[in-house]
């Protein structure tokens, strides 16, 4: 049997061109593909988008000061504010770099937990914000398009039925689409993390 300790310890003593080139460059020039860094960027993007939407809702209130519109827009603004605060709290919890002090198991647990928390936020968004935004858009579009008041527009039973069906269809669809999207993007990654965490129990 070969002396595996000795062979192993001799490995990498030469030079690998790729690594050698990399160690000549300034580390500041390198770009990161670390998943938690991407998650931080996603959260920040989400916060900016959510706040931009809140500004648009505010503008709608100013230009269409009808009580039904004001109420639905205020609900949306509240949801967006809640979303931004939740996302910001999560953003602050996510480390910017790998920890060189934590064990592998702790590092895996942190990564796993932060992705699950982010998914919980996305799930709530898909359940509340997307359908409400779609309903608000439906009402707004209907009122503007038909040149009627909200009461007149909603008085038509057909319109009310369409609205009800829209909500009934949109809520599960947006919920399942967001679940599918999350699993498609991070499902395999999270399964691997979970498997390794279990192996390290």
């Amino acid at each position: 049997m070969m002396d595996i300790e000795n062979i192993w310890q001799q490995q990498g003593k030469g030079e690998d061109d790729m690594l050698k080139e990399l160690l000549k460059r300034s580390p500041e020039e390198l770009t990161s593909k670390w998943p938690l860094k991407k998650l931080r960027a996603n959260l920040l993007r989400g916060i900016v988008l959510s706040e931009a939407c809140a500004v648009i809702y505010l503008a709608i209130i100013i230009y269409l000061p009808v009580w039904q519109i004001i109420t639905s827009m205020l609900i949306l603004i509240l949801f967006n504010t809640w979303l931004s605060i939740t996302s910001w709290k999560l953003y602050k919890k996510i480390p910017e770099t790998i920890s060189s002090a934590l064990s592998l198991k702790q590092e895996l647990e942190i990564n796993y937990a932060r992705f699950r928390q982010w998914f919980a936020v996305q799930e709530r968004v898909s359940l509340f914000i997307y359908p409400i935004a779609a309903t608000g858009g439906f009402m707004l579009g209907g009122v503007v398009g038909s040149q009627k008041t909200v009461e007149e527009f909603l008085y038509n039973p057909l319109v009310l039925s369409i609205l009800a069906v829209t909500i009934l269809i949109l809520v599960p669809i947006s919920y399942f689409v967001s679940r599918w999207f999350f699993n498609h993007t991070y499902g395999k990654y999270l399964k691997k993390l979970k498997k390794w965490i279990e192996e390290l129990q």
């Binding site: 062979i7 050698k20 060189s100």
Partner: protein
């Protein structure tokens, strides 16, 4: 912090990065991404290095934490003749044996690969346990199993 000093220290210990990346990278692209991520993470984390542990231990921990949390592409490692050295590595006379050893270790489950690599590099069970977050007893069990598996694999490869 001095960038030159940091890069010099990394160059001195580049065998750790090399060995670990070659145990886990599936493709050339994967290898490049992992090298880049490890150097970048090491650079950002280096100011927190107080010298309580050896630099090599610190780097080992950082490499493992980076490799395992990095979203590596799924795929089987193909054991072609060019997989490991690709004609770029300056190899010594035991290259055939080294190649066989690499191929055997890469067959082990991923956590076991890390444990056996640390073990072969001379870390004791307690140190390995601390790096991975498991008990020294569990490390012992896993090393025992991995060594048995390695012995069989080295006969076959």
């Amino acid at each position: 912090m001095n960038e030159k000093e940091f890069l010099y220290r990394l160059q001195e210990h580049q065998n750790i990065i090399y060995k670990l990346v070659h145990l886990y990278a599936v493709s050339e692209e994967d290898k490049r991404d992992l090298y880049q991520e490890i150097v970048l993470q090491a650079w950002k984390t280096y100011p927190a290095f107080r010298g309580e542990a050896k630099f090599s231990t610190w780097l080992y921990r950082l490499c493992l934490n980076t490799i395992f949390t990095f979203n590596r592409k799924a795929g089987r490692i193909e054991y072609t003749d060019t997989t490991r050295f690709e004609g770029k590595m300056v190899v010594n006379s035991t290259s055939d044996e080294a190649d066989r050893l690499y191929r055997a270790i890469r067959v082990l489950p991923e956590i076991e690969r890390a444990i056996i690599s640390l073990h072969l590099d001379g870390y004791d069970n307690k140190e390995i346990g601390e790096l991975l977050g498991i008990t020294p007893n569990l490390v012992g069990v896993k090393i025992y199993r991995a060594k048995q598996q390695l012995a069989t694999l080295l006969k076959d490869i």
